[in-house]
């Protein structure tokens, strides 16, 4: 008797999942409801419970993709029924469209070596010289060859080895045992899979399908700061510490009510103006070695929420994002996105944020910095927040954008208007 362990359908649009880790080993017993495997969808990881008990037979290993409802494992009632283990396939060629498996770095050459690695293009070197260089992890690409047509021969390599690391470094021949592509040495590599691949694909797709342009400007943040400080002082009362992002989310929601075409999507040959204002709030995930992930959880129906509610919600979503517990519904259904890059520092100001499809606009704001402004004919120093609004010119013309920005600027510079 056997039951399948399948990729569960976690969201309406989900088509594939990838096996991340089996929690139970091949041939081991699994109890019903026990977590048996962790899978990953485009942006979410998920622990799958066993639907039955039995001895586990693994069909798809870590890195393998499968379609929703496809069996990735089997549970057998008796040990005798267990088939032989399937050979590990490792990183598959990926059934997820747009996913490319990672290339593996070339293995280090053993001393006294067997067949050396592929010779970089354009380098002329004799076979024995290459074997010798690779056995000593010497980057021969920077050696000047004394042979015909600049061919590097064994004596050249012996000389380079004898000259020692200083001379080698002087001629930029650093000992390097990694991969070399087109003469460039590879420091490290990151897989373009999972969330990263999804973001990459989405960004590219967005730029391809829409007519995006970005209008940029600044707003005087004096009143914004004052308002925020006031609200922060009342943290205990509100039950949440209000942030600039929270305020922006609330304000933008009100502006969108006034200029609904910025809260729309092109579907087929129609521009759908949404009743719901679902704000995507860009969240930067904890920094890893080289990068920090990006995810955009959605505050659903912000049009019904108070500033406090929005603040609480954003915190909750940010928490979930950082701990990797966002559900699929948390990251889908947005109608407008806000990206506050203030946290990245003063340098990150003017930029052209990319619209999150199928939305029609995205507002990015930068850090608040002091700038000289002209107020009443005089140059004064004011705290200034810059904004970058990218909109899809297929759905929206300049006029509504101008209106949106005018109202946004008004609210930010005169928050009391929000009450009116």
């Amino acid at each position: 008797m056997k039951t399948d362990v399948v990729i569960p359908k976690l969201g309406m649009t989900m088509t594939h999942g990838k096996v991340v880790e089996w929690k139970v080993g091949e041939g081991e017993w699994v109890d019903e409801s026990q977590i048996v495997v962790v899978i990953e969808t485009e942006k979410v990881t998920y622990e799958v419970e066993a639907q039955d008990s039995g001895y586990l037979h693994i069909l798809a290993g870590p890195g393998d993709s499968a379609e929703v409802a496809e069996a990735i494992g089997e549970l057998y009632t008796t040990k005798e029924e267990l088939p032989d283990p399937v050979a590990a396939t490792g990183a598959s060629s990926g059934k997820i469209p747009g996913t490319k498996p990672a290339g593996k770095p070339a293995p280090a050459v053993q001393a006294g070596g067997s067949a050396p690695k592929k010779r970089p293009k354009g380098i002329r070197i004799t076979p024995t010289a290459r074997k010798l260089a690779e056995a000593h992890n010497l980057d021969y690409t920077v050696i000047k060859g004394s042979g015909t047509s600049g061919r590097i021969n064994r004596a050249d390599v012996e000389q380079a080895l004898a000259a020692g690391p200083a001379a080698v470094a002087a001629s930029a021949a650093v000992s390097f045992d990694g991969e070399i592509i087109d003469g460039k040495r590879v420091k490290d590599e990151l897989p373009l899979t999972g969330m990263r691949a999804a973001v990459a694909e989405h960004m590219h797709h967005s730029l391809q399908v829409s007519a995006q342009l970005t209008t940029m400007g600044e707003m005087d943040a004096t009143e914004l700061i004052r308002m925020r400080n006031t609200l922060v002082a009342k943290e205990a009362v509100l039950g949440t510490r209000i942030t600039y992002t929270d305020i922006l989310a609330y304000v933008v929601t009100q502006v969108l009510k006034a200029v609904p075409i910025l809260n729309s999507s092109i579907i087929g040959n129609k521009i759908k103006l949404w009743e719901d204002i679902n704000l995507g709030i860009a969240v930067s995930l904890p920094e890893e070695q080289y990068d920090a992930g990006l995810i955009v959880p959605v505050v659903k129906n912000a049009e019904r929420m108070s500033l406090t509610e929005i603040s609480i919600k954003i915190k909750e979503l940010r928490e979930k994002a950082i701990s990797g517990r966002l559900a699929l519904d948390d990251i889908t259904g947005g109608t407008f996105t806000i990206s506050n890059t203030g946290g990245f520092g003063k340098g990150y100001t003017y930029n052209t944020p990319v619209i999150s499809q199928p939305q029609s606009a995205i507002l990015g704001v930068g850090a608040i910095v002091d700038r000289p402004l002209v107020v009443n004919g005089e140059i004064v120093v004011r705290p200034v927040m810059n904004w970058n609004l990218t909109f899809d010119h297929r759905a929206i013309n300049g006029a509504p954008v101008g209106k949106f920005l005018a109202i946004l600027n008004d609210y930010i510079e005169n928050p009391y208007l929000l009450m009116a």
């Binding site: 004799t126 024995t128 074997k131 042979g147 015909t148 064994r154």
Partner: protein
């Protein structure tokens, strides 16, 4: 030790083997007289039934050698000039080479085909060939190319004692060369190359007569280049291991072979070295061979057959490649 000329060493080998085994006999045109001295005097000792003068009939001589060897005799067919082997190519390359396997692999054909090779006497294209690549291309034949009097005697004895067809090729230019030749019975095994000179910079493989120019070149260049000289002695079986050990040491190779360059033994050896020791090579392999022309007679011979200067230049060139 006693010294003999190369041709005398051959004569002595014949005499000893004729004495040793009554099944051995020689056939050839004018061998009782002995055009080159290699068979002179043998008839006085062994009689005309064992030293048989034949009509000018290469196909009959070679074919009869094959036939007689099938019936337990050990005939030596002396074809005089290896160029004439083309006349009885069927008998040597198809019959002798292939008969054993063709008939089921149980018969023995202990026959030897002897002839001289080589030029430098302005004899022209029909008395100057070194056709051993043709023989090598017919599996079933062993091919022997002695370069010293010691090897001439030892290899001929091994050839006559071998139970397979052997082509024994002696070089005209080596006939008067003097060297140490033991009086006693000794043999030189097939498939064992001789390292004529040890060196570290370049491996030079020299066949037959070319050995002497290579030795002279090595001596001349000794202050600049350390030359290692390998003399294969037998081309089939070939001692490729000794050659490869040398290549691993030096990384550079020059093959000196008097035969025509195109599809010659040097081409075969170069390919084997590339296949077996690609990662030991520090430069492309060089060949010094006869150029791809019919060998001209007279003065023009020197523009086709390998010359000593070509050998020196090739060794120098391979070092700077």
């Amino acid at each position: 030790m006693r010294e003999l000329m190369y041709l005398q060493a051959i004569n002595e080998a014949f005499a000893e083997e004729l004495e040793r085994d009554e099944k051995v006999f020689l056939m050839g045109e004018g061998i009782q007289t002995g055009t080159f001295g290699t068979t002179t005097g043998l008839v006085d000792r062994f009689g005309p039934d064992r030293i048989m003068d034949t009509p000018i009939s290469e196909t009959a001589i070679a074919g009869a050698a094959v036939g007689a060897s099938l019936m337990g005799y050990r005939p030596v067919a002396d074809l005089m000039f290896s160029d004439f082997m083309y006349i009885c190519a069927d008998e040597i390359l198809l019959k002798a080479a292939q008969w054993r396997l063709m008939q089921g692999g149980t018969q023995k054909l202990p026959c030897v085909f002897v002839a001289n090779i080589g030029g430098y006497r302005k004899l022209g294209n029909e008395h100057s060939h070194c056709p051993y690549s043709m023989m090598l291309h017919s599996p079933g034949l062993k091919v022997v190319v002695p370069s010293t009097p010691y090897d001439a005697k030892g290899l001929l004895k091994t050839a006559i004692r071998d139970n397979n067809p052997v082509i024994y090729l002696y070089h005209k230019g080596l006939l008067p060369v003097i060297g140490e030749v033991p009086k006693e019975d000794y043999t030189v095994p097939f498939g064992k190359a001789a390292i004529r000179r040890e060196g570290t910079d370049v491996t030079v493989v020299a066949i037959s007569f070319q050995l002497f120019w290579v030795e002279a070149a090595a001596e001349m260049l000794k202050d600049e280049i350390s030359v290692e000289i390998i003399d294969p002695r037998t081309l089939e079986p070939l001692d490729i291991d000794t050659i490869m050990t040398s290549v691993a040491k030096t990384g550079r190779v020059v093959i000196v072979d008097e035969d025509t360059e195109r599809c010659g033994f040097a081409a075969e050896l170069a390919t084997q070295i590339m296949e077996k020791g690609f990662y030991d090579l520090d430069a492309p392999i060089k060949r010094v061979c006869a150029k791809n022309y019919p060998i001209p007679g007279g003065i023009m011979e020197k523009f086709v057959l390998p010359q000593p200067e070509w050998v020196v230049q090739a060794i120098k060139d391979v070092m700077v490649d």
